[in-house]
């Protein structure tokens, strides 16, 4: 497999930066193609995939729980301040539900997930690269892409949607706490009202993109790790750059999906 060589540790001209940017896009595309090529070839490394799913989930759970409850709470409070003077507090659960489902839970979970998981994969595979562990695997006749990259990408593609569902519940509860404090709204009323506003389309729009987000987090982290050069300094650079690149890609994909959804 050919991967473009990136030059680290030296100041690059604008032209070189542009070149590197396109080299990276090319490299990521190659990674995506290779992923699908090796995904279907046995052995399927199910144990590895499960292990990484558990690991990625546990790593992200505390931060997304905190974020979920606070975001739900704050958003409900904000809607309250806007809607209360209009006497329209009945709309709070519905509008809250829709924004959480369609946008806030998927994108914020994905960004936090990218921060934890993409960097984690980048660091782990990056250190394996610079300490020649990946080379060792390759020369022993084991395909490191298949054993190291494929299970990680599959795991992050599958676990992020689950985390997002969890965050949706948590932030809906956070939202209820806020409305209860302001309005003493009845909990059955809150949920019924929210559900009556939501349709299948909101759920689909919110959830489908999380698979893409999870996939990109896995791919970018693995790509950055695999192409690490320049010792421990290189590992640090790959780690940060994995987070930045995957976060940007998440926002970019989100924009495209929202645009497609509107058509």
């Amino acid at each position: 497999m050919k991967t473009p060589q990136l030059i680290y540790g030296k100041r690059l001209t604008g032209e070189e930066k542009l070149y590197n940017f396109f080299a990276m896009l090319g490299g990521i595309t190659v990674f995506i193609v290779e992923y699908f090529k090796y995904f279907f070839i046995p052995p399927y490394e199910i144990e590895e995939t499960k292990k990484h799913m558990a690991d990625f989930g546990m790593k992200t759970l505390p931060i997304v729980s905190t974020m979920g409850i606070i975001i739900g709470f704050v958003m409900a409070l904000q809607s309250y301040f806007v809607l209360e003077p209009l006497g329209a507090t009945d709309f709070i659960p519905g509008s809250l539900g829709i924004s959480i489902l369609r946008e806030f839970a998927p994108i914020l979970t994905a960004l936090l997930f990218a921060g934890r998981v993409s960097s984690g994969i980048g660091a782990e595979l990056g250190s394996m690269r610079v300490t020649e562990q990946i080379d060792a695997m390759e020369v022993s006749g084991i395909n490191p892409f298949k054993f190291l990259v494929v299970p990680r990408v599959t795991a992050s593609t599958l676990i992020l949607p689950l985390l997002t569902v969890y965050v949706i519940f948590i932030s809906v509860i956070g939202g209820y706490l806020a409305t209860f404090l302001q309005e003493q709204m009845n909990i059955t009323y809150y949920f019924n009202s929210m559900i009556s506003y939501i349709d299948m389309n909101d759920i689909l729009q919110g959830m489908i993109k999380t698979f893409f987000f999870g996939f990109m987090v896995g791919i970018v982290g693995s790509y950055k790790g695999f192409t690490t050069e320049g010792g421990t300094v290189g590992v640090g650079l790959s780690t940060t750059s994995a987070v930045v690149t995957s976060s940007l890609l998440i926002i970019f994909i989100d924009m495209i999906m929202v645009k497609l959804g509107m058509m």
């Binding site: 300490t131 562990q133 080379d135 390759e138």
Partner: protein
């Protein structure tokens, strides 16, 4: 004694940018022999070893493993060939996230259909060979440099490769450990009938294991022959190389 040429290297050339690291290097490796590769730091010894297993792609030349060109063979054939060639990295390159046991089990689980108990037997036997049975449940981070090398060696030989490439197996070790490792390499080679290519700066190690020596200088093959004959050569470069070695050894 007419032995097979198991590896043939022909006109190997490799540059990084402007720098020509390997320049038209050709030599053969006979089945069952221990070939030492000498050369100063940065002359491309590691590049040479990595080319043999196609971790690096040379710019020109050919590397034949039993008449099949490694550099042009198909992916599948390459996997088969790599299984027959062991590679000991200078750092050991142990898998950090796995215990010693799993490090050794990994290639067996992935490459063979051996049942779990057979794998365990094999691990225990191989660890006995490198005299580190007590390290079986340790993590790589808990091992000393010399232990890592020996575990790396164990992981390399556990799949019973026909050829083993050693990249500086004794560098960075104290003279006693490095003698032990050299003797270990020799006894393994006797026992398992492997062919070895050993890159080293360590004259003692070479004295213990070498059948034949080649010298690389500035990317070219400078000289080849028996260690004793080369050492006697009236050549400034060689004299300098060995006298430096002896001085550093005596320190």
């Amino acid at each position: 004694m007419a032995r097979n040429k198991i590896i043939r290297i022909e006109n190997l050339t490799k540059s990084f940018g402007e720098k020509k690291v390997l320049d038209d290097v050709s030599f053969d490796v006979l089945e069952g022999e221990n070939l030492i590769v000498f050369g100063r730091s940065g002359t491309g010894k590691s590049v040479l070893l990595k080319s043999i297993v196609r971790l690096l792609k040379p710019d020109a030349g050919a590397i034949f493993f039993e008449d099949e060109n490694i550099l042009t063979m198909k992916e599948k054939k390459l996997l088969e060939t790599r299984k027959q060639i062991g590679f000991l990295f200078q750092s050991g390159a142990l898998y950090d996230s796995m215990s010693v046991r799993d490090n050794l089990a990994f290639p067996l689980r992935k490459l063979t259909k051996l049942p779990a108990e057979k794998i365990n037997d094999k691990i225990e036997k191989t660890l006995e060979l490198v005299d580190l049975s007590e390290a079986i449940d340790k993590m790589p981070a808990e091992l000393s440099g010399g232990m890592r090398k020996r575990i790396g060696l164990a992981r390399t030989i556990i799949t019973e490769p026909r050829v083993i490439l050693y990249d500086e197996p004794t560098t960075g070790l104290d003279p006693i450990t490095s003698k032990e490792i050299s003797s270990l390499i020799l006894s393994l080679q006797r026992k398992l009938k492997t062919t070895s290519i050993v890159v080293t700066h360590d004259l003692i190690c070479a004295q213990i294991i070498s059948d034949r020596v080649i010298f690389l200088k500035e990317g070219k093959l400078y000289i080849e022959g028996k260690l004793e004959t080369i050492k006697e050569k009236d050549d400034k470069f060689i004299k300098n190389f060995f006298s430096n070695e002896i001085l550093t050894e005596a320190e």
